[in-house]
Amino acid sequence: MTDYSKKRFLVVDDQAQARDALRTVAQQLGAFAVEFASNYQDAIFRIRNNMPDVILCDYVLGDGRSGQQLLEELRRFNLLPDETIFMMVTGEQSYEQVVSAVELIPDDYIIKPFSPDKLLFRLERIVAKKLFFADYYKEKRKQEYANALAILEAARDSEAGRPYRFEILRQRAEVFLASGDVKSAEAAYRSILENYEFPWARAGVARSLQKQNRLQEAREEIDRVVASTPHFFDAGDLKASICMAQGEHAEAQQILDEIAKKTPRNYVRKRLLAEAATLNGDTETALAAMADVIANDTMPGAISAEDRLATARSHINAGDKITAEKVLLGIRDSELQQMPLMEQASFAALLAVSSVERGKIRFAGLRPAMLVTEFNSTTRLDILRAALSLDDHQLADLQSGQLMASPDAKKVFGAARTLYALHGREKDFREIQRQVALLRIKHDEEVAPDSPPAA
């Protein structure tokens, strides 16, 4: 049996009496060091500064926060090593429904009331499982995906792996997805579904299809998940991002609006909502969402330069160039220098749009890089907008050509067309579209003259 007297416990609960009760139970296992966190922020602070071995976290944390959100945030900032035990404690039976659906789950959960014996039993099972997967965790952390997969394959066929066969399949699919082998990820998730219709596995299929740019199929899969498990909010996020890729921005915004109301303090989701609202032309919602993010996402390092760029972009969309300029100039020089090229390009473009005088030299300085570098669609749209307003047709047309030829074409089509229209160049935009389409046909003919047309 594990020696719990040497393990550091952290009890997270907003109710003092419940914290005491959890500590008492932990002490019956021999636990000596039991720390308390009374709220979400406090929990993150303690976990960052002194990683506990065992986290006992209540599902209801008050203040619009849940233990599930804490778990997601810890994973988002890579603050939770695989070796740490995260046990959700709940009096709510409804948490079972969450665990059975979502992709991101704790090591286990336990329903109150429970005896010290039962907690001990559950913890020992987790320890055994973590021991079984220990070598795999190491390779995964080093991003040695081939090694990680080899360990899982061996585990799958072993006698000792029998109690974990679903977990092995699930980890295998996640490794394929993380390593970018999206076709294998899709096959791995489908093989899980042959066993049982788990919502998280169906969502994994949708995620893998989206990454293959098979959007319509991805949409059909995720629609099934959202319809059967409406409390699986991440599936809603995934559906919204697929909708955006399909150019259905109003639907994306509507989905995110609804879930964001139920999870008011999930700021990753708020950012996604801002993106959908921006694409949907609802600048007011985008601005409100980003203002909420910047004011309330209090995790250190959570507010990125990208967030401020998104805010400035929304102000420009709202026609308020002065505030946009203020937001951009609020980014410190040191921060600017550390930005990757893509964000620097967005910064230069947005500044050139909000204040030609202040921005055009920096924009001109980055122009050669803008002509040859692969950027994401958001940055390309920023450059496109600045180039149009500076009458730099060559740069603008290059960006829109690249955008229309990219998998994000549907996502940004409306925005790009609107920008061209603003400058009276709709005809030119249509011509660019036509050229891209012709090129694609020619390319398809050259690549596969005998193969049937792609679906």
Partner: protein, 202 residues
Amino acid sequence: MHKLLDILASGIHDAKNQLFVAESIIAAAEAAHGIPMGEARYAIESAANRLSRTLTAYHLMRHDAAAAVTPTIVGDVCDEVMLAQKKHLAERGVELNIDCQVFDEWPLDRDLVTDMLNNAVQNAGRFADKAVQVSATTDDGWLCLRVDDDGPGFATLPPAVGTGLMVAERLARLHHRHERQGGLRLSNQGALGGARFELRLP
């Protein structure tokens, strides 16, 4: 629309939190003074389970109950039933044994199935002479979880159905896999000569 449900759920949630506080204090006192209080803790946990089952029954009658299916280690479920019931049955002179022949994970609603088995073991314990057995096997793609006792068996078959059996029957049917649906079988052909409660899950 869900107001009544919300009130019920939140009341049960609060009650279970309070019961947890009580159980933790008893556990601490037990350890500090060496007084066995297992039966007091057993009563607390039974009360909490009863509350949960009431809420589940309410969901079932509204037809909005759903199984929360996760891959589950069957042996762990059996061991937890053992942990929860063994001492209590021993107080009555009844021995509880486990025979688990299923070594792979099985997709099932762990908490509901554990509760059904706990309830079945409690019932069996009331009628058993000396022994109750929980066993797990597979049969043509079905997981069979059985609770057998050496008592007189059910007086009538099918027996008069109380809340526990009604809930068990309906919860078993919430387990779907491909075209198959779970079910409950009650008989007097138990391995120990008495009643048999058998849960069959796809």
